[in-house]
């Protein structure tokens, strides 16, 4: 007997989320009613104000949020228990919004390619036809990209905050669909871009199917979609264990696909390479943050009591991701593909933190927790990735961005600043001390080792060595190799891209030297609520 009752909506706790959604809808209205000449400016300002407003909102909500259930955690279950506004949610919201602002700045960049953005003038025009030429000549551009991105940001906020399987699925789809579309909108190399979009869509849809199937099985097991109820069921060991295990496995497929973990990584290099670089930057950073938030919520909140079942699976996937990602990255000759494979390796490192879950009575006072470590790693990874891809968009030749690594030779002499910044991001990804990447690695390795996952840590260390070789190889090309032909040329960015890069580099440096405040913030975020 199911009774329907109107859920109460906690508007105060949810207003950052609702603001982003509202701005996204408003963006669609702007497309319909504002004259073409004004749309670019209107959309960019609207999106930036929306994101900044939501960021302020997150801070206000975070200051005000109540302790939950008299426990260590803080937060509120909103909308009839379907959305959990707790510490980790708010941390991830803030991070996604900050990365979103960087993404909008990169989207809006028009200085690099002769006054045009990186997006197709008319997406419907078949590549190589007169219609395309006409669109370029008329300096047309799609301003729909801004509302699309806002919808994606909304999805990225809902996804990790979802407190039942259906809301999580809605979040997953809302974040994915706009990204599929954005991936296919590159101005240059359009066939590659469209291929990337199609590949991403087909595989993404397939993985969503897995997620739904898993959700159905878990519902069959627990009799509820709600994470707290599933947790209860797991604790009390009701129902068929095989339903639980198969359901968990299928849900993992859907989630691990989104973060690009091996063996679900095959889409990553193609999509990262084909998508317009600003989209790659935003997608690589934002999706990973949101999806890891969701992974932690599902596995810690709903399935935490069953962790002896899923930790071994995570062990294997983490090791595979690190080793395969690092090894395949070495063979790449394209910088975007290289960064894609390196992001697969990073997925493995973050999973190393995820599997470091321990019960609170096993932790010493003041010892770092796995949530804290993963949130910190996501912060470091997000900003370094955003910055690195932003730098990639600067190095160009007549055909657009020049992503072949061997053509980057001599960049250290051609443009010392750009080369130095990029080298810095690479060193951060390699985890060299005094960059944020080092502290991130330290944090996730610590929690994994404390949880007894020493084989994973050993594999992680070995994979780090392989990965270090890869980043150093690129640095060597930039600084010590002789340029091929004319050598690379660096386009001067407007203040938009420059700001994104500068902020990315600053965060990477500060978190490397003084990581204390952000680690503390992640500690204050505390545990997930049920």
């Amino acid at each position: 007997m199911i009774e329907f009752s109107k859920p109460s909506i906690e508007y105060f706790e949810l207003w950052p989320l609702l603001l982003v959604f509202g701005v996204a809808c408003l963006g669609v209205v702007v497309e319909a009613f504002v004259p073409r000449a004004l749309r670019y400016l209107t959309q960019v300002v609207l999106a930036l104000v929306g994101l900044a407003g939501a960021l302020v909102g997150v801070v206000l909500v975070a200051r005000d949020v109540k302790t939950y259930d008299d426990g260590a955690a803080r937060g509120v279950l909103a909308v009839g228990g379907t959305v959990a506004v707790d510490g980790p949610s708010l941390f991830i919201w803030g991070l996604v919004l900050a990365l979103g602002i960087g993404g909008i700045l990169l989207f809006a960049e028009r200085h690099l390619d002769g006054g045009l953005s990186a997006f197709a003038g008319q997406a419907s025009a078949v590549p190589g036809t007169d219609a395309e030429t006409a669109a370029v000549a008329a300096q047309r551009e799609h301003t729909e990209i801004y509302p699309l991105m806002m919808f994606a940001v909304f999805g990225m906020m809902l996804f990790p905050a979802a407190n039942d399987l259906l809301t999580m699925f809605v979040g997953l789809e809302v974040l994915s669909l706009p990204l599929y579309l954005l991936c296919g909108l590159a101005r240059r190399r359009r066939l590659l871009s469209q291929e990337a979009a199609l590949k991403y869509f087909l595989l993404g849809a397939f993985s969503s199917g897995f997620f739904l199937y898993g959700a159905a099985l878990l519902y069959g097991y627990a009799g509820s979609m709600d994470f707290a109820a599933i947790n209860e069921a797991v604790r009390n060991d009701v129902g068929s264990n095989s339903l639980l295990l198969i359901g968990t496995g299928l849900l993992s497929v859907g989630l691990l696909f989104k973060v690009g973990a091996v063996p679900f990584q095959a889409w990553t290099p193609d999509v990262y390479q084909g998508a317009p670089t600003p989209v790659t930057a935003f997608m690589a950073a934002g999706t990973k943050v949101a999806a890891f938030g969701a992974i932690m919520r599902l596995f810690y909140v709903a399935l935490g009591a069953d962790r002896w079942s899923w930790q071994p699976m995570m062990w294997i996937i983490a090791v595979l991701s690190m080793v395969v990602g690092a090894a395949l990255a070495i063979t790449q000759s394209d910088i975007k593909r290289l960064l894609a494979y390196s992001s697969v390796a990073h997925t493995g490192f973050i999973l190393t933190g995820v599997l470091g879950l321990q019960a609170s009575d096993q932790l010493a006072v003041g010892e770092i927790t796995s949530v804290q470590a993963v949130l910190f790693y996501l912060t470091t990874y997000g900003f370094a990735t955003l910055g690195a891809f932003a730098v990639v968009s600067l190095v160009r030749d007549a055909g657009g961005e020049m992503t072949a690594i061997d053509r980057w030779a001599g960049l250290g002499k051609e443009s010392p600043v750009v080369a130095a910044v990029f080298a810095f991001f690479l060193l951060a990804m390699a985890g060299i001390p005094l960059t944020s990447g080092f502290v991130g690695k330290l944090a996730v390795f610590s929690v994994a080792l404390a949880a007894g996952a020493w084989p994973v840590v050993v594999a992680a260390v070995l994979a780090s060595i392989v990965a270090a070789f890869l980043y150093i190889k690129v640095i060597k090309v930039m600084y010590f190799d002789e340029p091929v032909g004319d050598g690379p040329s660096v386009a001067y960015p407007s203040v938009l891209t420059a700001t994104t890069i500068a902020v990315g580099a600053a965060v990477t440096l500060v978190l490397g030297v003084l990581p204390g405040p952000v680690l503390d913030l992640a500690a204050v975020a505390g545990e997930f609520i049920r």
């Binding site: 010892e367 985890g431 390795f445 270090a468 150093i472 060597k476 680690l519």
Partner: protein, 492 residues
């Protein structure tokens, strides 16, 4: 406070040098290295020779991880600091014109990176928090990488990459052990990286062994020891002699420094457990390094490989666990720094004159350049342990300790003296005597000024090693007491 100043001075100097006008950059850089030297002397004067950690400062750095910004020096630390601050100005002077030569990255970059390297090295030798140590340990690699890759002979880019990969690999293996220490301390109830906190924990023997392996691999690569030494020859061959001095005479000391402080200091049981293997590796390094050096044709490569042999001696001295051996090893670290710096710099001056590094293409230099040949001979004789020069004292102490440990160990180690005489004197004979190059310009006053302090130090400490021994003995005493080895009076 003085130690922080000591680290900040060259660090600030590196930044200022990098942004100062080209005309004065070198003077600025030299000025900062001079100021650092003065600061180090001030620190040394404040230091009391009777042992323990001194001049300490401790601030919390990363609370969530129990990391502290903690500095302090014991006798070993202060000696390494002094060695560093003395060698850096000498290297800068030696690279005055060379680093500006076409094909190199410019004197400004050389001076700035060298100062950055100095700052990081000083931090390594003064850090008393394991994570701080690790951070600066890894941070030394970046300036070193750009010094190798930016200055020297063709093929240096590849050598720089090889160097960095080896060092990073070692560093990451060590990271696992560093984190392991953190987990051990967390399980003990007080998550901390502070050396003094960690030393108070009784770590169980099996864990100790795993942690030891991680630390030892990193320090063996750094030192370097057989079989992870192969980066050494390539690096010293391609880099400038000045860079090689920084790498071999300063940075590599971190390896043996770390063995003393972390392996013996924190993991005493495991260190004793590993002794047989380490001693064998050290002996192989001693003999193999000398044999390979004999066969080299490239002067710089040859000198680089002799260090493999010398580091074998140092490690042997550390791991025989006797006061004679420990004192000898630390003394050896200082002496090796001075003697090898002399060899590298003379060889550098020689190569600049002859235009080749190939021993086969040289010869007869002593006729036209007797002063150069004289310094070369002093360096060579120091390397083969001639009495009256300081390496003799330390080498003898290590060999005596080796005989005490086991007669076979001593017998093998003693062979190295013969081999050292062979590579040093044969190199001298082939390059300096006989027919060959005529009209090699002799050293000018600047170059003599650079080399003379090193040669004088070799002679001085050859006859009066006591001031060094007074500083070293308390460290050795403390370290061995920690390991639990009963011992006699602290010196020979």
């Amino acid at each position: 406070m003085i130690l922080t100043i000591l680290i900040l001075l060259p660090l600030v100097g590196a930044v200022v040098t990098a942004f100062s006008p080209h005309a004065v950059a070198r003077l600025v850089g030299l000025g900062f290295s001079g100021a650092t030297l003065v600061a180090a002397v001030v620190a040394a004067v404040q230091y009391q020779a009777d042992g323990g950690m001194q001049l300490t400062e401790t601030y919390s750095w990363i609370d969530s991880l129990g990391v502290h910004y903690a500095l302090g020096v014991d006798g070993l630390g202060i000696l390494m600091v002094l060695l560093t601050v003395v060698l850096v100005p000498i290297v800068l002077l030696a690279g005055w014109r060379e680093s500006d030569a076409p094909g190199n990255n410019g004197a400004k970059a050389f001076f700035a990176w060298t100062l950055a390297l100095e700052a990081m090295s000083l931090a390594v030798f003064t850090a008393t928090d394991v994570l701080l140590f690790y951070v600066v340990f890894e941070a030394t690699l970046i300036p070193a990488y750009f010094l190798i890759g930016g200055f020297g002979r063709s093929g240096r880019g590849r050598a720089a990459t090889k160097f960095l990969i080896y060092q990073l690999a070692g560093g990451l293996v060590m990271l696992a052990s560093v984190i392991g220490l953190y987990v051990v301390s967390a399980n003990d109830g007080n998550p901390s990286f502070l050396l003094s906190d960690l030393a108070a924990i009784d770590i169980d023997p099996i864990t100790q062994r795993w942690l030891f392996v991680g630390f030892f691999i990193a320090f063996a690569i750094k030192a370097p020891m057989f079989p992870v030494h192969t980066w050494l020859a390539d690096t010293t061959e391609k880099a400038t002699p000045g860079t090689s001095v920084l790498l071999v005479c300063i940075l590599d000391k971190i390896g043996t420094f770390g063995m003393l402080r972390f392996c013996l200091g924190l993991l005493p049981d495991a260190s004793q457990w590993a002794t047989p293997v380490v001693v064998v590796l050290a002996l192989i390094s001693i003999i193999y390094g000398a044999l390979v050096a004999i066969g080299q044709d490239d002067v710089l490569r040859l000198i680089g490989l002799t260090s493999l042999s010398h580091f074998g001696f140092i490690v042997l001295g550390i791991f025989v666990f006797s006061s004679t051996g420990g004192t000898g090893a630390i003394l050896y670290m200082v002496n090796h720094g001075i003697a090898t710096a002399l060899m590298f710099l003379v060889a550098g001056f020689l190569i600049r004159r002859t235009g080749t590094a190939s021993i086969r293409e040289m010869g007869g230099v002593e006729k036209s350049a007797p002063v150069l040949a004289g310094f070369f001979l002093v360096g060579g004789l120091a390397a083969c342990g001639l009495p009256g020069l300081s390496p003799f004292v330390s080498e003898m102490m290590v060999i005596i300790a080796a005989f005490d440990h086991h007669w076979l160990v001593g017998a093998v180690a003693v062979l190295a003296i013969v081999l050292a005489a062979f590579y040093a004197l044969w190199m001298y004979q082939r390059t300096m005597t006989g027919p060959g190059l005529s009209a090699v310009e002799d050293l000018d006053r600047r170059e003599v000024g650079i080399l003379a302090p090193l040669a004088l130090a070799l002679v001085l400490f050859g006859f009066f090693p006591m001031p060094l021994l007074d500083v070293i003995n308390p460290v050795v005493h403390d370290t061995l007491a920690g390991v639990g080895v009963a011992q006699e009076a602290g010196q020979q």
